[in-house]
Structures are given as structure tokens and as C-alpha cells.
Assembly symmetry: C2
């Protein structure tokens, strides 16, 4: 009678197994117990599985291709582009390989490091391109090992362009992409997902279209998991190619490469490189407007949208791959027109999850790095285990050294001149510092008319959630409670709430109110008197740069300040105030005064000495109101403190 | 300016340590990170530390002494007495050692097994007595090793009574308690807390009071941690003794042994054994009422209370040790009069924590064994790790074999005849089984006038919390939804709530509504149709005795159904619905029909066949309403099911 129902599994209890309890125990452990909470299936799947699942569910997707920039500054900008474009929900991004640009090196502009940053620091599923011609097996293996070590799981295997004009086969070397595919499978088994290139018009060097299709089939047979195509200008071109592939037995996903025309010159250059012919009807439109960039881009967007629509409507295409040329606007516009840019993708956790395979179980972090997640990832990259469940179980408490000012992906997006405009060319006293904090909170321009859009502790404008607290924050910053992190209390809002929601739907999220700030020792003295009245309700940690630490938290236990309750799951508590890591954060938070602010000024200058004074004498304070169902009392605590001082 | 404040610790961040990050990591791990949540400091302290902490805090305490019973039935009763008297909050209990009764054996009446049961199954801090005379070192070491293996941490080291009338010293043997103390320290280092006996009037065999004091000092110097005294009749006796001890340099805690007179004969016997003199003023009162047990007990209570008050008022006494003679009433009365019986001690977790040192980190259990915690403890006793934090982290999923019907501490307190009266001398059909369940819920007598105070799945009357659901439970049981476990939803009640509260004060507790029952396949078929409407809200697991399992829970994840949020701590989720352990519970739950109920009847008898039919054909169902802030929908689910059937 129940056979027709849902999920039926005939499982006998592990206690029934004969044999020793030990083997019974292990098999049960392996088979049925998942040691990680599957908050988001995406986090636990390989790229090819994600692709397959999206295809099965009929959920259309997109991916984005970038090339490594030439300068360190451009790399910083590309990383913020990753963050912004990542918000639209690409299934993956890929980073091209430029043999001439030292692509496997540790330079900030190398393909390897850009891909590493995307996967680890931006949380993006990433494919690293790799070309093989003119390289030794050892070099290639070295690159692949490094990619694996950095947490990259996907390789786009390419031949690469010949060095000279003519193509010559090398004996014992890698001559074709298929050699690289075979090499990856030989040396790394099934570790990597492998992508190969398809040419809807046939590769320019191939004997014929048919011969090129056969080469493609060889690449797939050698172990490639999916195909991304070269760009093309008509949907028919792709659809015919796809049918031809299927006809010769290629069954893996084939993803069309979309190139939204963004300008006259970039189009000409690309066409030259790829040896493609631009259809006459496109030339006819473009030539007359070739000096009008906006007009060309509009046309390019329109063209791409209509071609993508045809592809998606064919029912044969589930995902679209975009050649972005490292630009944002055109591709984003196409995606928004198609409705596959996910404006507000559901957050699996309140913070962005890293895409590194080792970190995928991570589901709790200290609140301190909320605005500096890349620094947190950097300083915990050597951890073997990431906290899965409560922080108290973590066995990786050591934070890496504080040298992140030198890392390009942690650099401020704003150059020195801009920072000086925001934070003051010349400081006249502690009050002028209060003023900078206040302007950052309010969004009002400073007295020289510049808006303060970032702070040493936060390279982005105020979070939406923090806006909820804006009025109070303004008041206290004006008086020298220099806030750097805060969250309001939340007593069970739906997990789908657009501002504070996260995790699977059907759940409820909660927060304890949190406030973190720098302040003078005079205010700390008053604050401590006031806190006596709140002893049972408010937990505090107060520390100066020397590490003198005042707290009422018993036995150094972490305090969960964000948690969620979901249907059919254990409780997730992704953010904690952890007294131990607070001392590592303290080093970083104090150092940022000097590294990011004081060093803008000449040594011995009054401005520099003011920041140095604050660094040396102020305290870093954090407060948690444990009584989350009641109205946040932290503002009252601060008000009482100011009153006591008056 | 902040030096005068609360807890000040000058801690430098681990990242500052020079040398390798590896050593830095380890030292930080060791020193500052506590891997277990300290919900209740008691759970993590040794007995001597608890004693010291109570003394420092001025919190008065008591302890209880029991002797091993002679019969298995008496052992069952003693265990329920442990549970009842444990509710009053003794700091520890102790179990005496009877050389003649095979005290180190595995018999259910042995000292070893009674102490094991107290510590592991009743969660009581326990001292096992051990005597040494007439025993070889190997025997003693064997007993101590066994005690350690069973999780006992405290030994009362005694000489024991000589076998014959006269005391003869053995060469190379154990002649005095001090020999045993030395032996324990030699062989087990600091593993055990050691208690020794003190004699306020001097040991009857000692040359003199002073000589006996010197012997006591030797025992303490050899490594004893505290002293419990022989009984006495006047507070001055103890206070003088204590001063004399201090005068010769005994500084460890000395706990007075209190003997509430409970009857004429027991007093006479005890006095004979201990060679003590009963003061004339007591004899004068007792002799005239020697045949009036109640009068003697009243007098005994009054006498004990006034003596205990004098002791406590002296300021020298922090704890009182009671010789209970395995009786409950007199001691409980004395404790209540003194105000040190904790009527409703705060629960650190919703279930009673085992006192085994290995299990002290345990803070999550499946809900299924809520009414059979001893069975759960038994079936998980071989686990190496107990879940600390989320259940998903547990690496010990295998449950021990189902043979607990044979274990005395899991036996029903009610004899077969009583069970037959409650559950029916003769069953006439499934409906008569429904009737038994209904009477258990309502507390009304069955048709033969007997109240049903226990069921195979629950040896105790309905929990207070379940009473909140009584009306609905009655209705559904009458119609064949045979409930065995349930809890209401709770949306943030204070942790101090007298019915559903647990954990430290200042917190909030939550629950998802839960309902577990046996029911026919006909009802299950209708239920499954109804559950489709509640797909996103209600998680279910439905299984029959063969293990056919129907569920809508994704990927076998546990569902947290009880959790608490506390000041300055991580979130505690002590109860989960775990799909994997449900299959182990299923075996037990179905087996109880046969082992506890069917076997009351003759083989082939109609009554037995009815129970067997239910066992073979019914399903075990559990339902969780995930939407804890809304009104519990599980009753609506059941109502809809009945409606569908009509």
C-alpha cells in the first residue's frame, strides 16, 4: 500500500549487521551519515554535476570569460568586477591562459593567481584555461599540481597558438588539445573537470569542418566533460554544429560562446585573431556607426539578446558562455534582458562562501572580518579543517600573519589621492577623525565636498543591513564612538527576507545585536561603569593595541550572534563573537589605522601623529546584547555612557 | 585606568608568536580554545574541585550513602530511588563495599555494578567504597581498573572489617586504609579522587583518640582528598574533632556523616556495628516509643535537622553526608527542612546528563529515546566520541545490540501481575490496545479500575510537558494513533521556565512540535495523502518492522527539534530527529511490543496474537512541524487523516 509513495528506502538498522560492531560502525558511517550540512547543494557538486542538474531542472544559466590583466591596478579592478558580476549568479567564470604573460607564476597578473583569487576570495566556480603547445610535460604537470593545490577543480584544455606562423608537430610533445586532455586524465585521474573548445565553423587550421568535428570527438573520448564553443554570429551556426556533434556521438554538454559586440575595434581585432568572417548584415549596420561607441554597444546588446533568445528557445541550449573582454556593462545588460541575471540570488549563508573544495564545509566565521572577508580567507588559508557547525569545535585557531597590505586582492580600490580627499588632506585633531567616520555613516559629503565611500576597515559603502542602524550610528560616531561593525537584533524573520535573510526557504533567521567600535580610554572608563548595570545582558570585550583585554565573557567561549532554523535540518550558526580570534582581529584592526590611514601622510606630520595617537591610545570594543527578543539595549548603553561623561 | 576592572588578561595574539605557525597553532589550541561547551561547570570538574567551588561560593550541599541490595528486584528499586533522590541535587552518592557480596563482580547486586549504574545511567557523581584487608594487591588493582573502565572517578579507601574477631596484621598485604590510599596513588597516579573515613570519637580499634587522629593524617598525607566521618550524635563531637584535625595540620574537607534515626532496630544494629554509644538523652526519648516507627522517625528527623543546623551554623561545615540505609523518606525530609534539597534543580540540558567522564561533552541526542534514556546510554556505551555540538558531526553512529530486556536497570519497576492489570488480562482486539494507550494518557482507570501508569515505551507516568498536549493525545489514541512520544512547539520561552526550561539562566529555549506513534497501514495510507498538502512544512519518517521506510527528509539529515540560545555562548541543540538512528530505535520500539507486552500472555493465546499482529503490521511514524513560530499543525494533519478515512 505504501509502495507507490515518495522516497522509499529499505534500510536495515546498522545494529542488525552481523560481524563486529566496529565494521558495522564504519560502514554505517560511510554510507548514511553526512558529516556536512548540505545547505546548498551547489557547494558540494563538481561543475559537471551542477551543469547536469541545471539541465535536468530546466534552469537556464550563464558563465563569464575573463583574461588576466596587464597591471596590478587592473588586477585589483578585475577582482572587484568578479565580486560585482558574481552577484548575478554565473555558474562559473573562466580565466584565459596567456603563454607570454607568465601564466603559471605567482605574479598578481598571472592566469593562475587571477583564477586562484576568483575561486578562493570571490567564491566563484572557476575554470583555468591551459595551453600545451611548446611546453614540456613537466611544466604542464607543474601547473596542474599548482592549480590543484590552490583549490582549482576545472581546466579548459587548449592547444594554444603556434609560436611562428606555421604549425609544426613536435615529437613526444603536446601537439593538440587532446594530448593535454589525455595527460590530465593520466596524471590526475578524475580530479579535474575538463572543458575543451568547439568550433562551430570548424577550426581555421583544420583540414575540413568534418575533420574538426572528429578531432572534437577525440577530445571528448579522451576525457573532456563539456565543450565551450568559439564565438559565432548566427544562432543557426551553433544549432547546426550541435546537431552535427550529436550525429557523430558527442553527448556531453556543448555551451555556446556568446560575444556581445562592444566596439568597432575590439570586434575587428577578435575577428582577426579567430579568423572568423563577420556576416555582411552586421557589417552593414556597424560601418556607418563605427565611431559611435554607445550605438555599437546598443546594437551589440540587441544582437546578442536576440541570438541568445533563439538559442534558448531551441530547447537545445541550457547555458550561455559570455566573452566579456573584461567589461561589465554589455554582458550584464544582455543577461538582464534575458532574465537570467539573478538580481538577488539567495544567500546560502550570511557571508559569501569560498569555492575552495577544502572550505566547502565551512559554515561559521567570527563576525569581526564581516567587511574584510578576503582578509579572513587569506589568514585562514593554511587551516586543515574549517569549522563545520559550532566554532567551539574548530581545531584551527591560528590566524596567518598580518601581511595582507601587500596582497593585491586586499588592496583598496581607491588610489591614495582619493583616500586623502575622503579622509582629509590634513587632520586637525581627533574630532576631524570623528567627522570622517560620521560622513561614511551618513553618506553626506565631508567639508571639502567629498563623499566618504570607504574606510580602512571597509572598502565598500555601508551594508544595507547597517542602514537600519544609520541614525544611531551617526549620533555615536559624532561623539567619538568610532563604529566599524554592527548588526541589529533579529527575532525570527523569514529566511527569505530580502535584507537579513539567508539559507534555504521555509526557515527563520535570528541575530543578537552587535556593535564594534574604537574609542578613547576616557569613554571606556565610563562605559565600564555603565556596563555593570547590564552585566547579565551584555557581553563585552575591550582591548587596546598592547593586548590589555577586559571582558565579562566566561571562559573564552564563543557567542553565536547569527543563527538560522530550517526545515528538516540542524541549526546553522554562521557568525560568532569569538574571544580568541578577536585578539587576532585586534592586531589587524589596529594595524589598519597605520597601514591604510597614517601612512597617507608624511612621517612626523601632525595628521600622521593624530592617527598614531589614536592607534596607541584608543580601545577596540565589542558589545553583544544577548537578549535578542527585546529591543536592542546597546544604544542605551552608549547613551548612558555619554550621560555619565557629561 | 582600566586596571581596576573585572577580568583582565594580557593575551597577545597567537599570530604574534615567532617560530613556525604550526607550534603557534598548537599552543593556542591547547591554551585558549575550549573544545566543549561549558553548559554546566559541574560536568567538567572532579569531585574535589566541585567541593572546593561549593565551599568558596558558600553554597551548602549534601551527599547520600547507599549499600548494594541483596536481590535483583531490590536493585531495580534502588535505581529508581537513585533517580528520585538524584532530583534533589546531591553533590555525590556513595555505594558501600560488601566483601561477602562479591562486590567487584558483574552481578546486578554487586557494589561495582550499582555504582556503575549510578554514574552512567542515573548521571550521579559516585564514590565507590573499597576495602583492602584480606585481599591481594592484584585483586585490588583489578577492581580499580574495572572501576576506571566503567567511568568511576572516586574511591572511598577503607580497611574493612577483619574476618575473625581479632585483627591480625598481614605481612606484605594491605593492613590499613593508608596502604590502599598509597596503592591507588602508586598505580593510578591522580586519576581517582580518594576519600577516607574519619572517626569523631576515634576508631574503636585505635589505641587512643590521638593515635587515631595521627592515622587519619597519614591517610591524608598518602593522598586522600577529603574525609567523611563516622556517624555521631552531637554536633560538638564533630566540631571538636574537626578542630583537632586542623590542629594537627589536616586541611582537606571533612564532611560530617549524618545518621537520621529511622527506627529502633536499625539504630541498635548500627550502634552495635560501629561500637558507638548512644547518648542517654536520646535513649530516654526513644525507649518509650520504640514500637512506634512513625514517632521514632519524626524524632530522628527533628534530631538530625537540629544537629545539621548547628553544624552549618558553625561556619565550619559546607556539606552533609547522609547514611540513608537505602531509605528515602527521613533523609529527604531532613534535607527539605534544611532547605538544601533542590526541589526543581535547573536542568543543564532537557535530558539527564550521564556522569561518565567520557560522556561529559555529550550535548545532543536523538529524541526517540526521550523516555528510555538508560537504553540509549546502554546502546551507545561503546562510542568513543559523543556528539558535542551538532549531531551531524558525530562519528559514532552504530547502536549497540538490543538485549536490554535482560539488564536490571532497564527492567520495568512493575511486576508482571501489575502490568497485566494495567494492560489487560485478556485483549479482545486492537481496540482494547487503543484503550490501554488512552488510559495511560488520561490517567483515568481502565475498565477494571486500574490506572495505567506505565507503557512498554515509558516506565514512568506522562511527563509534565506532555500534559500540555493531553486533550489532543487522548482523542487520537482512542482512534488508533498510538502515541509514544511527543513535544509541543515552543517559540522562545525563558530558559528558566519551570516546565520546558533548561540551560543557564538568561537564555531562551525553542522546540519544534513532534509526534511519534504506531498506527495501522490503513491510517498510514490516508496520512500520506494528507501529508502531501504539508510537504514543505512537515517532515515525516514512516517505517514498519521490516524496515520499509517512507520519508520526505532530504539526504538523511538530522532535524534539530529542541535548541537554546544563551548569553555569551554558542547555540545548543540537544535533541534531534535523526533519520539514521531512527532505524535503530525502530528495532527497539517494535521489539518492546513483543518483549514487554506480548510475552505477558501464553503463546498462541488470542491476546498475544493481537499484539503480534500489531507488531507485524503497524507502522512507526514520526512527524515534525518545522514552522515552530506558528500554531502546531500536527493535530490538523491527524484530523485531516481521520476525515479522509470517514
Amino acid at each position: 500500500m505504501v509502495n507507490e509513495t515518495q522516497h522509499t528506502c529499505s534500510a536495515s538498522s546498522s545494529s542488525k549487521s552481523d560481524g563486529g560492531s566496529s565494521s558495522g560502525s564504519e560502514s554505517s558511517k560511510e554510507s548514511s551519515r553526512c558529516s556536512t550540512p548540505v545547505l546548498d547543494a551547489d557547494r558540494h557538486e563538481r561543475l559537471r554535476e551542477k551543469m547536469r542538474r541545471r539541465q535536468d531542472s530546466g534552469d537556464k544559466w550563464f558563465s563569464l570569460e575573463f583574461f588576466p590583466p596587464r597591471t596590478a591596478n587592473a588586477a585589483v579592478n578585475l577582482i572587484s568586477r568578479f565580486d560585482r558580476m558574481g552577484a548575478g549568479g554565473p555558474l562559473f567564470i573562466d580565466v584565459t591562459w596567456h603563454p607570454a604573460g607568465d601564466p603559471g607564476s605567482d605574479k598578481e597578473t598571472s592566469s593562475m593567481i587571477i583564477a586562484n583569487t576568483a575561486v578562493n576570495y570571490c567564491g566563484l566556480e572557476t575554470i583555468l584555461h591551459m595551453t600545451c603547445c611548446n611546453q614540456t610535460k613537466d611544466d604542464i604537470t607543474g601547473h596542474l599540481q599548482k592549480a590543484k593545490r590552490l583549490g582549482l577543480k576545472n581546466i579548459m584544455a587548449l592547444r594554444g597558438d603556434p609560436v611562428g606562423e606555421e604549425w609544426e608537430e613536435e615529437v613526444d610533445g603536446f601537439n593538440y588539445a587532446v594530448d593535454l586532455v589525455k595527460h590530465i586524465r593520466n596524471e590526475f585521474d578524475d580530479y579535474f573537470d575538463i572543458c575543451v573548445a568547439g568550433y562551430p565553423k570548424g577550426h581555421p587550421d583544420a583540414e575540413s569542418y568534418e575533420a574538426d568535428l572528429r578531432h572534437l570527438k577525440e577530445k571528448v573520448s579522451a576525457g573532456a566533460d563539456f565543450i565551450i564553443t568559439q564565438l559565432f554570429f548566427r544562432s543557426e551556426t551553433f544549432l547546426k554544429f550541435m546537431k552535427d556533434c550529436q550525429a557523430i556521438g558527442i553527448t556531453c554538454p556543448i555551451i555556446p560562446g556568446i560575444f556581445p559586440i562592444q566596439g568597432y575595434h575590439s570586434l575587428r581585432q577578435l575577428v582577426k585573431l579567430s579568423k572568423l568572417e563577420v556576416p555582411q548584415e552586421i557589417k552593414d549596420v556597424i560601418e556607418p556607426i563605427k565611431d559611435n561607441d554607445a550605438a555599437i554597444r546598443n546594437y551589440g546588446v540587441e544582437l546578442a539578446v536576440s541570438m541568445c533568445r533563439e538559442l534558448l528557445d531551441s530547447g537545445m541550449v541550457h547555458g550561455l558562455h559570455f566573452y566579456t573582454l573584461n567589461r561589465e556593462v554589455a554582458t550584464t545588460e544582455v543577461l538582464k534582458c534575458l532574465g537570467i541575471w539573478k538580481e538577488d540570488p539567495r544567500r546560502p549563508l550570511p557571508w559569501a562562501v569560498s569555492a575552495h573544495p577544502k572550505r566547502r564545509v565551512e559554515d561559521v566565521r567570527p563576525i569581526f572580518w564581516a567587511s574584510r572577508p578576503k582578509s579572513y580567507i587569506y589568514r585562514t588559508q593554511e587551516w586543515d579543517d574549517f569549522p563545520n557547525g559550532r566554532w567551539g569545535n574548530s581545531s584551527s585557531p591560528a590566524f596567518g600573519e598580518l601581511k595582507d597590505y601587500y596582497l593585491f586582492y586586499l588592496k583598496s580600490k581607491s588610489p591614495r589621492e582619493e583616500l586623502l580627499k575622503m579622509w582629509g588632506e590634513e587632520l586637525t585633531g581627533e574630532e576631524s577623525v570623528f567627522e570622517v567616520f560620521t560622513c561614511y555613516i551618513t553618506g553626506e559629503p565631508n567639508k571639502n565636498g567629498h563623499k566618504v565611500t570607504c574606510m580602512p576597515w571597509n572598502d565598500d559603502p555601508l551594508a544595507t543591513e547597517t542602514n537600519l542602524l544609520k541614525e544611531q550610528l551617526e549620533k555615536v560616531n559624532r561623539r567619538g564612538i568610532l563604529t566599524i561593525n554592527s548588526q541589529p537584533n533579529i527575532n525570527g524573520k523569514p529566511s527569505t527576507d530580502p535584507i537579513v535573510g539567508w539559507g534555504p526557504s521555509g526557515g527563520y533567521v535570528f541575530q543578537k545585536a552587535y556593535l564594534e567600535f574604537f574609542t578613547s580610554s576616557e569613554i571606556v572608563t565610563a562605559l565600564l561603569k555603565v556596563l555593570k548595570k547590564y552585566e547579565l545582558r551584555v557581553n563585552y570585550h575591550i582591548v587596546n593595541v598592547k593586548g590589555q583585554n577586559i571582558t565579562n565573557a566566561p571562559d573564552l567561549q564563543p557567542n553565536a550572534v547569527t543563527w538560522g532554523i530550517f526545515p528538516g535540518r540542524e541549526i546553522i550558526q554562521p557568525t560568532v563573537v569569538d574571544p580568541v580570534s578577536f585578539l587576532s582581529w585586534k592586531d589587524e584592526a589596529f594595524a589598519l589605522w597605520i597601514e591604510q590611514w597614517a601612512k597617507l601622510y608624511e612621517e612626523e606630520s601632525p595628521s600622521r601623529m593624530i592617527i598614531q595617537y589614536i592607534h596607541d591610545n584608543y580601545y577596540l570594543v565589542n558589545l553583544v546584547d544577548n537578549d535578542f527578543p527585546l529591543e536592542n539595549c546597546l544604544w542605551q548603553v552608549v547613551d548612558d555612557t555619554f550621560e555619565l561623561l557629561n
